[in-house]
Symmetry: C2
Subunit: 695 residues, 2 copies
């Protein structure tokens, strides 16, 4: 059963034995000398124009020779590509252009310009115009739901960050308000989040012990928050949003999963009512200290209260997922748990029987913390480094949250503007006793389900939290700390995305390695090491892909002039006597050029024993090697000298080397290195033309 | 003056306005469903076969549809590419195959197999068969010339390595002998070299002070040599030769230049007869200590002797380069200088007037040093690290030397075999009081000029050095140390290659950055930091090139189906209403996918204002975006979701997205991620076919 494609004879046939070799070389030489005459004249000044201005010599070349020669002329005489400097200039001007244009319009039309500029800085001025009472009603409901979830979570995350509980509440007042004025996302819920709280405590407690010296520790946290905000705003202004992309999706999935487990382990302290705990976050240290403590001093009452409410929270969470209509149940369940458990402890005076309680929470709105920022401590460089890490992680979470909801609702989020908003809210936050805030995955989902329409729900939430701070902090005196642990624990499953990890495994094994590397790094070493491992594996993967020293066989699609890899397209037909090789790498550089050269030479040698080739030829060795350079983005000095050596060695054995379809940078470098003149310049526009010229 | 190319109308014409959009989409859907039927059947087991076996459904598809549909079928249903595991297995088996085959042949034919195996291990058994008296005469002359240069240089390099002078001579006896039996290069001259000596002293003196504790220091040097040999041999056996390639050419040029300057500065100690010196190697520290010392204690006689002989050496060097016939003059000039200066000092008793002399050199052949190797010291891990750095630098120098002469004479050097030879010679060297040896640039050039025929010249040299060690070391008692400094100084210009640095600047600015980074790093910080900087810049460049978030406009070459970048080929013509974009990067991954997506969307938006497009269309916005994916080597999960988002956003504005020529890994990942089904699968074999399907 012969498939249709086999009926077509490849244009090359068996005629490979009758090559007029000298004719081929001679013609190339001839046209080359003509080309060099026209070299200077055929460089148009504007690269974008579609008409070319040529002199008479060029027309002569074009008319006297076939299309292959014409194409070769095109290949060998491109305009110079933009240099490193031009590329940099373009990138920078492209990045800052919008700033500049806005400024120009401001100068031209001061009034409307100012309004439009304010509108860019404060999107609330734009969406506020179309804001209706109906929308406000929905935002009010969403904001209240959000607040009921936010208050217990904020207190819990503050204890995770080893701060006094009121700092969590403070962080749910100022940052959401500022974000509401400056941010572009409608669904994001701003406030303290688990991963950032863990990051802060795990890194800062190496500098200062939060239990021995809580005041100094708090000052460091606020200073880190200030630096984080500064970095975030700077990223936004300098349009460095892409930096956040350097945390690959796989790395984030692994990191979040690892962080969730670490956070969960930290909660065992509250859940078991332990007094002694470790400052380390890795699994081994934490489990060790827990096993030791469990034998000595743990209070079963704490565990009973904590785990029974955790069961309640997990059941409501499950129900909320199952029946979309009662989405509010898991949202207010934490508040219900807090109220119930506080009542139980208050009525039974369980705190006298070993149940640990929150005790006094300082009431009143956010106090100023300007004087708590510390820039002259010996730790300042370390603090700035922690600020940078916190900034990146917080941005990654916020932008991931914002983007996913925006793409769901079909509107656009401006990454750079978001960074400015988040940075600004953290700077102001650090001056008003808030620690690093960002967009929370779980609360944003609640906000979305509750039907929020705009950032107004954040305002409603902030006001509600502010009111609680002013009036209700006394009511939380008897709240058991175990309940805070269960609230945090109940939010963790959302951070572990096994499904996505499986997807990554399915699509890309190396991506999965980055994911699992981040996970294990966070789990067994520390949060920073986990991040570092993930970023390094991600970039190692990019490097590996870019310089993989692979080559692949090409064959002609029957009846066309198109060539494809024979493994990918089994229907592609190889031409006897000609070896068509495509370089698999994006760069022919120091790291792979030698390897690639050796591999090509090995292939050529192997073809001597290949039956298929010996059929049509006296000697099996290919007479021509065509190197398809279309994948090569760039080449360096090592790459060029490898090509020269390859050419030399192939010539020694009577094999010709032709190159096809070099990219702009590549052909330019080859010309600069005088490669074309040294080797005779057998460079063609396409593989097909290289083959036609030979046959 | 209209050039010829403008006479050809692009096949697209102005008909872009009349698109039968639904028909196009419908047909794709139809053929897609047929494709899925044939998905399972068209995966041939052997990827290398050129005939394909297809079932009747496929033939049905092929016959009922045009070539474009057939091509799309090919694109969408490739066999699965080899997975990560297969790739690894292939690489490993490819690497070790030759070992395995040799072993098999050994089992089959014990006698001839053993001989051929011995021949592989000891190439001297192969070339020794054809060795003639005439060849030996030339090797004898070359070897004697080499020895006359080698003896003074070895003593000088030993002082540079902060060892007693005899260690330099030891190192010129055992390693060259072993290399002569195992190595494949004919011209390389083995022995101590300047850069490795500097590396050893600069790194080991951080662990142990060579002046306070010379015995312990020497033990560390020998242990480092042992580790270096072990690493080198392991690289060879495991075929990790490519690791040496990771030092890019540009990095080596910069590193060598920096090392030459640092070595030169170190020689000022001997030249000025200073007693106090610094252990640091950076320019600032060295100049500081020299300026301080010059005011206190320096001996003008040392300087006079040193600088006058340095002038003599440089003049002979210049003459030797100018007049090729007296190549032997610069080669024996160092020995002449040593003899003359020793005589002068002996006759004038200048050592009593402050001229520093070598004094006692321990005579006799290499003593055993097995018991000096130390593997239980607290520094062992540090020593192994230094061994690794020394191993890589020594290999880089030896292989660069070997390759350049081999390619000049037209024979092949097996990098892996060289590594085994060099590693073995250093292991044996470390057991016989030798420090790390490698191929010397300057002496290899002398060997070559002296007409050496084989590694026999190394044997002659080693025997001559051994005789000198046995009988002549007493004669060197009065040799002034300043003369050793001038001999080292006179060899340094060969390490500084300004010409090559200029070439690198011309061809590649970023390569030059790596070069200058290595140079400045070595000069101002330390030798290791210089290396690290160079390697990091080199890899950063690879990364930058691989993930540059660039896209480029394609246009059709008049009268063909070939597309090229319009900036590179100004004669390429864009089709109105269609935007053909090629991704410039090799990977669409976490680090650039978002940026590329945004850039494409921006381009599409910009086209709305573009005059050229508005001509033929009611609305200027392109109706079709063709994404040429031929450069994309791979894609990751972030890249796939970016493509999905791009498709979604373009559809929102009524623009279609078609993709052309995806590589094997890319189409496979797109299929795994179910991209084709989600978006409708508009993926074509070539840009031309994508365009034809649309028009």
């Amino acid at each position: 059963m012969a498939p249709a494609v086999l009926g077509i004879t490849p244009p090359s046939g068996d005629s490979a034995a009758n090559i007029n070799n000298s004719h081929f070389a001679g013609e190339t030489e001839l046209s080359k000398s003509k080309f060099s005459q026209t070299l200077q004249t055929s460089m148009p000044s504007s690269a974008h124009q579609t008409q070319i201005v040529t002199d008479e010599t060029t027309i002569d070349v074009l008319e006297n020779n076939g299309p292959a020669q014409r194409a070769q002329h095109w290949v060998l005489n491109p305009p110079r590509p933009p240099g490193l400097w031009d590329e940099l200039k373009n990138t920078v001007s492209g990045t800052f252009l919008s700033h500049g244009e806005k400024f120009k319009s401001l100068v031209k039309q001061p009034v409307s310009g100012t309004i439009s500029m304010l509108g860019t800085l404060f999107p609330i001025l734009v969406w506020g115009r179309d804001y209706t009472v109906a929308k406000f009603k929905r935002d009010l409901m969403a904001g209240l739901t959000l607040a009921s979830l936010c208050i217990p979570q904020s207190i819990g995350y503050a204890t995770l960050a080893k701060l006094d509980p009121q700092y969590g509440l403070y962080t749910s007042v100022v940052p959401p308000l500022i974000y509401a004025f400056m941010g572009t996302s409608r669904e994001i819920a701003i406030g303290p989040v688990a991963v950032v709280s863990l990051l802060l405590s795990s890194m800062i407690q190496k500098l200062e012990d939060p239990e021995a010296n809580p005041v100094a520790y708090t000052r460091l946290v606020l200073t880190v928050t200030f630096f984080a905000g500064l970095f975030q705003a700077a990223f936004g202004f300098l349009r460095l949003g892409f930096l956040v992309d350097f945390l690959s999706h796989a790395a984030i999935v692994g990191f979040m999963g690892g962080a969730a487990v670490v956070i969960g382990l930290q909660q065992l302290k509250g859940l078991l009512g332990l007094t002694h705990f470790t400052v380390k976050t890795d699994v081994v240290s934490v489990l060790e200290v827990i096993f030791k403590s469990v034998h000595n001093s743990w209070s079963p009452y704490n565990f009973i209260i904590g785990s029974s409410f955790l069961t309640f929270l997990l059941i409501t969470r499950f129900m909320g997922k199952r029946y979309k209509k009662i989405f509010w149940l898991p949202a207010i369940a934490p508040l219900i748990s807090v109220i119930l458990s506080t009542l139980i402890v208050f009525l039974t005076r369980a705190d006298e029987h070993g149940v640990k309680i929150v005790k006094h929470i300082k009431g009143g709105l956010n106090p100023s913390s300007i004087h708590q920022l510390q820039f002259d401590s010996p730790h300042t460089s370390e603090v700035a480094k922690i600020g940078l890490i916190v900034a990146v992680i917080a941005l990654a979470e916020a932008i991931a949250v914002g983007r996913s909801f925006a793409s769901f609702k079909g509107y656009h989020i401006d990454g750079n503007k978001e960074m400015v908003a988040i940075g600004f809210m953290n700077i102001v936050g650090s001056l008003t006793s808030c620690y690093a805030a960002t967009g929370s995955f779980s609360r944003s989902a609640v906000n979305f389900s509750a039907g929020c329409e705009s950032a107004m729900s954040n305002i409603v939430m902030a006001i509600t939290v502010a009111l609680s701070l002013e009036f209700f902090t006394r009511l939380l005196y008897y709240t058991p700390t175990a309940i805070l642990a269960s609230i945090i624990l109940s939010a963790l499953p959302g951070l572990i995305d096994l499904n996505e990890a499986y997807n990554i495994w399915k699509v890309d094994k190396l991506d999965f390695l980055a994911c699992i590397g981040a996970f294990l790094g966070v789990l067994f070493v520390s949060v920073e090491i986990g991040l570092l491992v993930a970023v390094m594996i991600s970039f190692a993967k990019v490097l590996l892909n870019a310089i993989q020293p692979g080559i692949e066989d090409l064959g002609r699609f029957p009846g066309t002039d198109v060539f494809g890899q024979v493994n990918q397209y089994p229907m592609a037909i190889k031409t006897p006597g000609i070896l068509t090789i495509r370089i698999k790498s994006a760069l022919l550089c120091f790291a792979n050029s030698n390897f690639i050269k050796e591999r090509i030479l090995k292939w050529v040698d192997e073809k001597e024993d290949d039956e298929e080739c010996t059929k049509g030829n006296a000697k099996g060795r290919p007479k021509l090697v065509i190197l398809d350079m279309s994948s090569l983005m760039n080449i360096d000095t090592s790459g060029i000298s490898s090509l020269e050596e390859l050419h030399k060695k192939l010539m020694l054995h009577g094999t010709e080397l032709a190159m096809a379809n070099p990219r702009w940078q590549v052909i330019d470098k080859l010309r600069l290195a005088n490669f074309v003149n040294k080797t005779g310049g057998r460079i063609f526009l396409t593989v097909g033309e290289a083959m036609d010229a030979y046959l």
